[in-house]
């Protein structure tokens, strides 16, 4: 069977499975739980993760010896596309499956893999990411959270993490902490795995400008990480943290685009309903938004054409992608409001389309800030993509 036939079969298989399972108790999850809507039905979405696992839809890109299916990039992309096309909910398990799992496979011990990978694959253990701090946002290496080694080898952690998505719905957190008190910057950091349900950890939700609370502050006051829960050696933390970020190669990009298509469709429907579908200025903006979607599609295809080669440096098309989609999405939010006109200001949760578009308008302000602000993205593009001089480091 050639790869094209196999891909076509997979496409049909995923579509059928989603159609068959996104029913009954799960029917209400359709189109829910994406960015800006992460608070929707957390318990039910965890049950959905177990349903996915039972169907064999977790660990698609993981190697078989780790319990995965070792599918090539093209087939993983098909899964994400069909997943999104079916309107399946935002994934609760993506931090464990997409980020921590691959990191343990690459850098963890055999014992760590045996302890953690099965729970991630089964959809029974959920993870969050403890990177950012109040003083370490764009300057990620400016970590103040510290870990002190106890006599038995365990690590006692003090400090604060912030913008921790899903912390309130997770069992575990991975943390970068300073284990060498004399160190600065990206040296002397270590990568620790910690259970969240223990004394010395407090999780406080952060209320966002859209009223929701998907992010949290996590406070550490002497909480413990067991000695066997250090990944790599002490001082390896930065390398491992960067390895983890390298796994975000845009496999789920096409699923995200599917959501954007749906949002643009709502904007167009709304333009007709609001009587502005003939306004020439609105028409041009909608046409531009559509053009942007096609550009994203072809850009993603260029990125994914090189995605099986994980050793390669990020190409220019991969470097621009986050900046491109996040600014596009922000513009779409503004366009949606302009199409709604005065009604954009009126909250009416019974009007689902309007509510979702208001959500896009508000939540998309975060898109150009998290995962590298616009300004950091431009620095990265200039330095890595164009070879321009690196930013000078300050001394404060």
């Amino acid at each position: 069977m050639n790869s094209e036939t196999r891909e076509q079969q997979l496409r049909v298989e995923v579509a059928d499975w989603m159609k068959g399972h996104l029913t009954g108790e799960f029917a209400c999850l359709k189109y829910r739980g994406g960015p800006g809507d992460e608070e929707a039905y957390p318990a039910l979405r965890k049950a959905w993760e177990r349903e996915l696992a039972a169907g064999g839809w977790t660990g698609l890109g993981w190697p078989t010896e780790a319990g995965g299916r070792a599918l090539p990039v093209a087939e993983q992309v098909i899964f994400h596309e069909e997943y999104a096309r079916a309107g399946s909910p935002g994934r609760m398990g993506h931090i464990g499956e997409g980020l921590l799992g691959p990191t343990l496979i690459a850098c963890g011990t055999q014992a760590q893999r045996e302890r953690f990978l099965p729970g991630i694959l089964a959809g029974t253990q959920f993870w969050c990411q403890g990177y950012s701090e109040p003083g370490a946002g764009s300057d990620l290496a400016n970590v103040r959270t510290r870990a002190v080694r106890e006599a038995d080898g365990a690590w006692r952690v003090f400090g604060q993490k912030v913008w921790t998505s899903l912390a309130h719905d997770s069992e575990w957190i991975f943390v970068i902490a300073r284990t060498d008190p004399e160190s600065r910057g990206n040296r002397g950091l270590s990568f620790l795995l910690m259970p969240l349900d223990q004394p010395g950890i407090e999780i406080r939700p952060i209320r966002q400008l859209n009223g929701g609370a998907e992010f949290n502050e996590v406070f550490f006051d002497g909480a413990l990480a067991a000695s066997e829960d250090l990944v790599g050696a002490p001082g390896d933390g930065w390398r491992i943290a960067m390895t983890l970020l390298g796994f975000e190669r845009g496999m789920s990009t096409l699923g995200q685009q599917m959501q954007f298509i749906r949002e643009l469709d709502w904007v167009i429907d709304t333009a007709h309903e609001a009587g502005v579908a003939h306004d020439p200025a609105i028409r041009q903006r909608i046409a531009r938004a559509w053009a942007g979607l096609r550009v994203m599609r072809y850009n993603a295809m260029r990125m994914l054409a090189g995605a099986d080669d994980t050793s390669a440096a990020l190409s220019r098309e991969a470097l621009i992608y986050k900046y491109y989609w996040s600014n596009w999405h922000r513009d779409l939010g503004q366009l949606a409001m302009d199409v709604l006109g005065p009604n954009a200001n009126i909250v009416d949760t019974a009007d689902e389309k309007r509510t979702r578009l208001q959500g896009v308008f508000l939540f998309s302000r975060a898109d150009t800030i998290y995962a590298g602000t616009n300004e950091i993205q431009l620095n990265i593009m200039a330095e890595r993509g164009l070879g321009m001089p690196r930013e000078a480091r300050g001394t404060l």
Binding site: S3, V77, R85, I261, R294, N299, L304, G385, L386
Partner: protein, 407 residues
């Protein structure tokens, strides 16, 4: 759909970059626009005659290499990067594209001569041809042909014809004025010898001196019956297809121009020292270069995607599918904006010297302005797209647009 370049495609791209980097550097371009009316005969002889670049897209049956739109856009990108002063766009992307759709034997003979680099040619469309979803380009045909006992007599004026003053062969669409009643609106495609009596070709003085345009007047030009290359309904399709193909090729050329604006700026800002440091180290400069890169890569994705869509849909005959037209419209509109933005940024980031005749950004600035108005302006193309997506005259932005992405 796979957007990875094959080894052969990468080779085409690299070879073109090398030849043009050497033979169409700034000095050569400036010599051509100051002394030879924007046509570098030596370079044309090399590209068309020795290197066989004109054979690239010509069907194999006519002695060409039969390669697709993707290979052509790679080559056009390099042409645009160096503002190559050769009639390649007019000969290959306009005349060649039109001739490949004619079924007549003499069209094939012309193609063979084009592929062999023996002649330059152009399709005499007005450069500012309007793009609309349901446009009939034949409505905009200003030349009338009167049928006589021996053939036809053609009269009319074409305002802005690419390389119209120098092309060896002019392909002119004309409306048959005195055909049978049913034929009243028939448009035919004529080959017009450059030496024809009654043909007046006047070079136009243009802001963008790197691409020669001419006014072509036909004052009762007599041609024989055999000068008809194609006639009837197929000419409408043929003109529309040729114009869209030209728009795609032009978008690729604009992409190359934008890329060169960025490359010139990177080189200049790396050398220019102020306040004791290269100005490339200032974030205000870096961010603007990075923004140029965003627009350029987005345009590259649009151009490569549209070219691949053209090849996959096999648009050589018949009407071009609407989704392919939309992809070309997006590529051209994006390229219009990107090239203008990058040329403007290049001038600004070069500072005072960016305003001089001596430095190159001005050449690109003028080319960007000119090509943004040729074969589809941004506002025309966006209006056309709006019709498709808002009025839903075509399968709009539904999930099917992502099909085939994984391959």
């Amino acid at each position: 759909m796979n957007l990875a370049l094959s080894e052969e495609q990468t080779m085409i791209c690299d070879a073109a970059a090398e030849v043009l980097g050497e033979r169409s550097a700034s000095a050569a371009v400036r010599h051509a626009i100051e002394h030879t009316a924007g046509r570098d005969e030596d370079l044309w002889h090399t590209l068309a005659g020795e290197l066989g670049w004109c054979a690239l897209g010509v069907p194999e049956a006519a002695g060409g290499a039969g390669l697709g739109a993707l290979e052509l856009v790679l080559l056009m990108e390099q042409m645009g990067r160096r503002l190559a002063c050769v009639p390649y766009f007019s000969t290959v992307c306009l005349a060649g594209a039109a001739l490949s759709q004619c079924e007549s034997g003499q069209a094939e003979a012309w193609l063979t001569r084009i592929a062999g680099g023996e002649v330059s040619a152009t399709l005499a469309l007005h450069a500012a041809v309007r793009f609309e979803l349901r446009s009939h380009l034949s409505d905009a045909v200003p030349v009338r042909a009167v049928q006589t006992a021996n053939g036809y007599v053609l009269s009319g004026t074409l305002d802005q014809v690419f390389d119209g003053a120098t092309a060896d062969l002019l392909i002119v669409p004309a409306r048959i004025a005195n055909g049978a009643q049913a034929d009243a609106q028939t448009v035919a495609l004529f080959e017009i010898d450059a030496a024809s009596s009654g043909l007046i070709r006047t070079p136009l003085v243009t802001l963008d001196a790197t691409r020669p345009l001419a006014r072509v007047e036909l004052h009762a030009v007599e041609v024989s019956r055999s000068a008809v290359l194609a006639t009837g309904r197929e000419v409408e399709l043929l003109l529309s297809r040729s114009a869209w193909f030209a728009a795609l090729a032009l978008a690729a050329e604009q992409l190359g121009g934008a890329q060169q604006c960025l490359d010139l700026t990177l080189a200049y800002t790396a050398e220019r020292v102020q306040f004791g440091r290269a100005i490339a180290s200032f974030q205000a400069v870096k961010h603007r270069c990075a923004q140029m890169m965003v627009e350029i890569e987005a345009t590259r994705s649009a151009v490569l995607g549209a070219a691949r869509a053209w090849d996959d849909a096999d648009c050589t005959m018949g009407a071009v599918p609407k989704d392919v037209l939309a992809d070309i419209a997006i590529a051209k509109a994006t390229a219009n904006d990107t090239f203008r933005f990058c040329a403007q940024e290049a001038i600004q980031l070069h500072g005072g010297v960016g305003f001089t005749w001596e430095y190159d950004p001005q050449l690109y600035f003028k080319r960007a302005q000119a090509s943004g108005a040729q074969f589809g302006t941004t506002s025309q193309l966006l209006s056309m797209l709006a019709e498709q997506v808002i009025d839903r005259t075509a399968p709009h932005a539904d999930a099917s647009m992502l099909e085939g992405v994984g391959r």
